[in-house]
Amino acid sequence: MEEPLPAGGAGGDGPCALLPAAALALDGDEDDLELFSKDASLMDMNSLSPTMPTSPLSMINQVKFEDEPDLKDLFITVDDPESHVTTLETFVTYRVATQTSRGEFDASEFAVRRRYQDFLWLKGRLEEAHPTLIVPPLPEKFVVKGMVERFNDSFIETRRRALSTFLTRIADHPTLTFSEDFKVFLTAPDGELSAHKRQGPGLLSKVGQTVRAAALALRGVRGRPAEFEAMSGFLEAFSQKVGLLHKVSQRICKEEREYVDEMKELGPIHALWAELEEDLADTLQGVAGCLDRCCQATERRLRGLAEALLPVVHEYVLYGEMLMGVMKRRDHIQAELESKAEALTYKKADTELLREEVGKLEDKLECANTALRADWERWRQNMRHDLTSAFTATAERNVRYYEQCLATWESFLAAQSDLYAKEPPEDKP
């Protein structure tokens, strides 16, 4: 539930000032619109032979993290989206190209085609293997409501970038990067991946896990350590703030879009007027030119906002949700331990096995907590870095935008004053 944003700056009555969260609500708020209908694990993807890998230089722009740039030995790009139409469904595959110098990889370059579901599978596997590590979030599964074409270009582009970020983050994670599933994902020829997928835990055992998990969830955790309590508290607040930040950023994009659309008319009108006039024509043409240039600058600014700021903020919105899941899983392990430990206190005989189990669970919890603790710190640092640089870049972009517009108008004035100097200046009150 979002709390309404109370009034802030001056000029209170305009609908744009101080919008309650409802007014900020995205028109395209994610509603679940099922995109894929069939169980795609039964489908074979078009097997496309790996294309020539791209040069390392093109991968540099994927590198976002400053931690250990010199030690990076795995570079991944996601590009070349392709639409596939079969009788049962339509889907998009992306080319995933890898460059690595790691020994455990059979070659130094790979290129495979993957679809969204494959990414989803990878994420699931990583979460399963490392329940309390912070696995990066995936872009949303479902199409945003309101889009007419399911796969319009901008949607695919946004998703492509997010998928790329996803893989790069895994590659940069000290633990996840060595995951076998990850390696398979990056390297297995397309047909082989489906086979590898089927090796996962069977459906039945999954069901069993879910039932147990539900039971434990009901029971709840007894004593959550203070540090995780604090973590949880922070997460809740953070999620809310970042959600608002996202909404505000989207709203700004929308307003700027509409501003640009209106502004586009302004220059041409002045040009039209110039045609009517003789003495004024020069000045009017000058103004028309400035308006056109400022309009273009505004478009660039808008693009920057949409391409550089929004995706970052959005990712952290997803992170927020993801992290809640991580906290739950940690709690789950603790709950498991507590339930077993409780059972132990009631048992009189045959405690040997149970004691062993409890011991194992204690270790498990210890590991889980340690892993989470470390990863949390790392995540906090990344978060701080990512959001800071995204906003700094936005501010920088805005400064440049205003500087460009300033230069335009100043040169117009300079040209005018050359002519103006010939006329006696008017006395203005």
Binding site: L5, P6, G8, G9, A10, G11, D13, G14, C16, A17, L18, L19, L24, F234, K241, L244, L245, V248, R251, I252, E255, E256, E258, Y259, E262, M263, E265, L266, I269, L272, W273, L276, E277, D279, L280, T283, L284, V287, C290, C294, R384, L387, T388, F391, T392, A395, E396, N398, V399, Y402, E403, C405, L406, W409, F412, L413, E423, E426, K428, P429
Partner: protein
């Protein structure tokens, strides 16, 4: 076709204007503060105020206050209106202090009355327009309500501007009714109405789109009318778009205020980022609130454009007046020609033109030679009178064209000066806005980078 009173056709001579302030001083220097240079010597010996060496005494006019009033209107109903304080000051020496000479209250309808009077008595002058009666080209933040204080304030400025324009016009400034408007509060309306100007107004001028089949209009006026139509169209289009752009810009800035709030809340849960977020949030608030001043300035610019939107109408009116005069002239000439022909036919006995008399003659028998003679005589009188009238009309027409064109040239220069200045001031506004933007975002950037 309405018969206009003959004395309307010649340049009117309103009663000579007493010099302001000093009864025994020479011709007044009724030059407003905003005078665009010294008024030209352009009047022929027609005018009773002949001397044009304006003394150095200057007049300052201001509409300094606006006040809400209630009163009873013509139908004895309670109404609320706004009254404006019109103050006139005279300045003894160039840098000397100004002395308040007159101060009275006027309401918008009285300004309208003044203008309508001027329109009738100076048809060859491009009469300065009044600020709009109702708020148009509003964007959401502006109110369309006439009692809204912002609207009243902008109207106050517009009314002052109107008076200054009239005062600085070389011809209009000498008008007695204008002088009385500034100096005599009570009874002024009656005096204006006593001039009977409403009766003299040619109602055809009000019929904006009525066309008259004018065979030989002065081409310059036709082009000018076309220009004024185009100007009106382009300026109103511009104002409409500008209003929409202002609306959108307002939205962009204000939404950033929400960043301010969220940053502030977020800073509460962060340790290292806390301070940076707080200050960044503050800058977002500054950014959001900066738009109010920016757009207020732009509103003044829009008002300057609006003035010329309305001026275009005044320009059109002068062109229409010429058209009407030309039309009347051509009609009179046509009438004269037909009478001459009738006369000729009667004299020679040939009937070429159809006339009722001719028909009745045929039906009821020939007329007597005496009857014919008397008819010829009447016609000859009419012809002679008509010729004189035509001559006079011709003269008036040429006078009108000459005087009107002189004022139009004056107006053109004024327009070019004013609009150029307005456009430049628009550029200055944009520059100021950009500079503010640079400052705010540079500050914000610094805060962000320290987070």
């Amino acid at each position: 076709m309405e018969q206009a009173a003959p004395d309307l056709e010649r340049p009117l001579q309103p009663a000579p204007l007493e010099p302001l302030g000093h009864p025994d001083a020479g011709p007044e220097a009724a030059v407003g503060e905003e005078a665009e240079g010294a008024p030209d010597e352009e009047d022929p010996g027609d005018r009773t105020m002949t001397e044009n060496n304006f003394c150095l005494k200057k007049i300052e006019i201001s509409v300094s206050e606006a006040e809400k009033r209630t009163g009873r209107n013509a139908m004895n109903m309670q109404e609320t209106y706004t009254a404006y304080l019109v103050e006139t000051r005279s300045v003894e020496h160039i840098d000397g202090p100004s002395v308040l000479t007159d101060s009275l209250w006027r309401r918008y309808s009285e300004f309208e009355l003044l203008r309508n009077y001027l329109l009738v008595y100076y048809p060859h002058i491009v009469v300065p327009p009044l600020p709009e009666k109702r708020a148009e080209f509003v964007w959401h933040k502006l109110s369309a309500d006439n009692m809204d204080p912002d609207f009243v304030e902008r109207r106050r400025i517009g009314l002052e501007n109107f008076l200054l324009r009239v005062a600085s016009h070389p011809i209009l400034c000498r008008d007695k009714i204008f002088y009385l408007f500034l100096t005599q509060e009570g009874n002024w309306k009656e005096i204006v109405n006593e001039t009977g100007f409403q009766l003299k107004a040619d109602s055809r001028l009000k019929a904006l789109n009525a066309t008259f089949r004018v065979k030989n209009p002065d081409k310059r006026f036709t082009e000018l009318k076309h220009y004024s139509d185009e100007l009106q169209s382009v300026i109103s289009h511009l104002l409409r778009v500008r209003a929409r752009v202002a609306d959108r810009l307002y939205g962009v800035y204000k939404v950033h205020g929400n960043y301010g709030r969220v940053f502030s809340e977020w800073s509460a849960i962060e340790k290292e980022m806390g301070d940076g977020l707080q200050s960044a949030g503050h800058h977002m608030d500054v950014y959001a609130s900066s738009i109010d001043d920016i757009l207020e300035d732009e509103e003044h610019y829009a008002d300057q454009l609006k003035e010329y939107l309305f001026y275009a109408e005044a320009l059109r009116a002068v062109c229409r007046k010429h058209e009407l005069m030309q039309y009347d002239l051509e009609m009179a000439a046509q009438d004269l020609a037909s009478k001459k022909q009738q006369c000729e036919e009667l004299a020679t006995g040939t009937v070429r033109t159809f006339s009722l008399k001719g028909m009745t003659t045929k039906l009821f028998g020939q007329e007597t030679p005496e009857q014919r003679e008397s008819r010829i005589k009447v016609l000859e009188e009419q012809i002679s009178e008509g010729e004189q009238q035509l001559k006079a009309k011709n003269l008036e027409g040429r006078e009108f064209v000459k005087n009107a064109w002189a004022d139009i040239e004056r107006f053109k220069e004024q327009k070019n000066r004013d609009l150029k200045e307005a456009l430049i001031s628009y550029a200055v506004m944009q520059i100021s806005m950009c500079k503010k933007g640079i400052q705010v975002w540079t500050n914000a950037k610094e805060c962000f980078s320290k987070m």
